[in-house]
């Protein structure tokens, strides 16, 4: 198990700003589309099915 729930994001405030800025001018529809792409891109980075399963459970 390599999925961590401990702080791991390099610079939390910067990340959060990046994320929200990227969607500031988007409609909910477009933002949701973007989130779906983002989930897939990040899922590919995680890779392991066991970890992805854990993440999906945790997010429910």
């Amino acid at each position: 198990m390599s999925l961590t729930f401990e702080p791991n994001i390099e610079s939390p405030d910067d990340f959060y700003e990046l994320l929200t800025d990227a969607q500031r001018d988007l409609s909910d529809e477009d933002a949701n589309d973007m989130n779906a792409r983002l989930v897939l891109i990040l899922a590919n980075q995680v890779g392991s099915l066991a970890d992805l399963k854990m993440a999906i459970e945790a997010a429910k």
């Binding site: 779906a36 792409r37 897939l40 891109i41 590919n44």
Partner: protein
């Protein structure tokens, strides 16, 4: 109707037993002369069983049905002597393209491995397939095809099944030691035995049209998501033989099948897909709703089920007929052994075990494809579209695109008929897997490995000194490398991981039952006993 194909009309003949009113006890009756029932007749005949086939109709499959046939069923048909004709008439292909709107996002190549007799896939209209099998059945002294014979009721006894059969001459009684129901997805027989048939219906409709056109589209499978010519839905284009093309338009749940079926509504859709200037003729069109369902048990007393009567899948992945034919491959040697009194009934129950497992695998794959093509809610649709839009530029998204995962055989890895491996093995030939083909030579003449595996069990000796093993009715045919065949390209040795010597026990349906590095007659006997549910001791 079809202008490239004349439907044969098979003659109805009143049987002696109907004329005289004296029922004959048949060994096996097959209900349904579709691809699966006809394959069953040929395979039972190959096992030496006499078989009567009843069909309520008197011609081959009408309309737009199966198109793509995979390697494994073609190998089975080849073993039964009808494969070459299908492959000759069929159209070979290996490339599939997936489009989002009008842009290509993904191409897959079936990348067939070299050194196999049978191609990865061919496309051929279902009526040709059936016609060829009917002709082969007519030539067999073991097969009695009876057209316009509809099973209307059945009654099970301890040692036989009693049927009421309706013909143009009225209703009469037939009896069979075993009944194999291959009467399709709406199986009457299934209803008559009270079997459950459960699963999932998809809330969507598809217009399937076959057209004749002389156009220079390549022989590839083209699948569009949300194409400009059919916004918000999916579409498919695939070539069949005689310049007939299969077109498939997703319509959505709210569409009206009666309206969509009208030529004046179909023709504009077709033109939008293939272009205004391409001349074509509409051969056949119908609107389908798809489902993925399976029967509870493949055996109910003396009634067995195979093909669509046992499992129905959506066509994305071309799994229907392909998997039904493999049911028969699995069943026929087991049924023959039980009928001849060589094996216990327990062997027949492994038919359910192995084929229900394969059916579930097919259902899972078809359901996943259908869920991708017909997302169940807004969130699934969003993910689907995200996958497609990423696939254009990001290779990681391409394996997620699912426009149908094409049929491959399901290995029976957990089957109780397998003898578990002892020691280290490489490659794919694990017990429960169907034997891989390879080029060989026999007396200096080129041939194919699978052609050596006909009839009963085989004991394949690759660089291991083996002797004949006496296992009664199941005594394996010894096939030794260097004696019975040569392996000029070394592909048998590679595919069977025979570097250090290998001995394989192969079942009559060409599946690996056991393997060893050395010969031990007792071990071989024990494995045969296991593979026949204890038929020999």
């Amino acid at each position: 109707m079809l202008n490239t194909y004349d439907f044969p009309e098979f003659a109805y003949v009143q049987s002696e037993e109907q004329k005289t009113g004296n029922p004959v006890r048949h060994t096996v009756i097959v209900v349904g002369a579709g691809p699966v029932g006809l394959t069953a007749a040929l395979d039972f005949a190959a096992q030496g069983l006499n078989v009567v086939v009843l069909d309520d109709n008197n011609t081959v499959s009408v309309g737009s049905r199966a198109v793509c046939y995979a390697k494994r069923p073609l190998e089975i048909w080849d073993r039964l002597g009808v494969g070459a004709r299908m492959i000759d008439k069929g159209v070979g292909w290996k490339l599939g393209r997936v489009f989002l709107r009008d842009e290509e996002v993904y191409t897959f190549d079936l990348l067939p491995e070299d050194g196999h007799k049978i191609p990865a896939f061919i496309n051929l209209q279902q009526y040709y397939l059936e016609e060829y099998m009917v002709e082969a059945c007519e030539k067999s002294p073991h097969i009695d095809l009876r057209w316009k014979h509809k099973v209307v009721s059945l009654h099970q006894h301890d040692d036989h099944v009693e049927l009421a059969v309706e013909t143009p001459d009225g209703i009469f009684t037939m009896e069979a030691g075993w009944l194999l129901a291959c009467d399709g997805a709406n199986s009457d027989v299934r209803r008559m035995v009270g079997a459950e048939f459960t699963g999932q219906f998809f809330q969507d409709r598809f217009l399937i049209a076959d057209i004749v056109m002389k156009a220079d589209f390549p022989t590839e499978r083209w699948f569009w998501f949300d194409p400009d010519f059919h916004r918000g839905q999916s579409a498919l284009l695939h070539k069949q033989s005689d310049d007939v093309w299969r077109l498939d338009f997703q319509l959505g749940w709210d569409s009206d099948p009666e309206v969509e079926k009208r030529p004046e509504n179909i023709i504009p859709r077709v033109k939008a897909m293939i272009g205004d200037d391409v001349e074509f003729e509409l051969e056949w069109a119908s609107v389908y709703q798809f489902a993925c369902r399976r029967i509870d048990q493949f055996r109910h007393g003396r009634v067995l089920f195979a093909g669509d009567a046992a499992h129905q899948v959506s066509p994305f992945g071309a799994r229907g007929a392909n998997t039904g034919v493999q049911d028969i491959d699995n069943l026929s040697w087991k049924l023959a052994a039980v009928v001849k009194g060589d094996a216990p009934l327990a062997l027949l129950d492994t038919y359910h075990g192995e084929r229900a497992y394969a059916a579930d695998d097919n259902l899972l794959n078809s359901t996943r494809s259908t869920d991708f093509i017909t997302p169940k809610n807004g969130a699934s649709k969003r993910f689907r579209n995200a996958v497609l839009s990423l696939a254009k530029t990001a290779p990681f998204a391409r394996p997620l695109v699912n426009s149908g995962r094409l049929s491959t055989p399901t290995p029976y890895l957990d089957s109780p008929l397998n003898t578990p491996d002892d020691g280290e093995w490489n490659g794919k030939m694990r017990p429960g897997t169907c034997a891989a083909d390879a080029p060989i030579s026999v007396d200096g003449r080129p041939g194919w490995f699978l052609d050596l595996l006909t009839g009963g069990f085989a004991l394949l000796a690759l660089g291991v000194a083996a002797e004949p093993v006496d296992a009664g009715a199941f005594s394996p045919k010894l096939i030794a490398l260097g004696t019975d065949f040569d392996d000029p390209d070394g592909l048998v040795s590679t595919r069977y991981d025979a570097g250090g010597g290998a001995l394989y026990l192969i079942r009559p349906d060409q599946h690996v039952a056991a393997r060893w590095r050395n010969f031990d007659a007792e071990a071989v006997k024990a494995a045969i006993s296991r593979a026949t549910a204890g038929a020999i001791r």
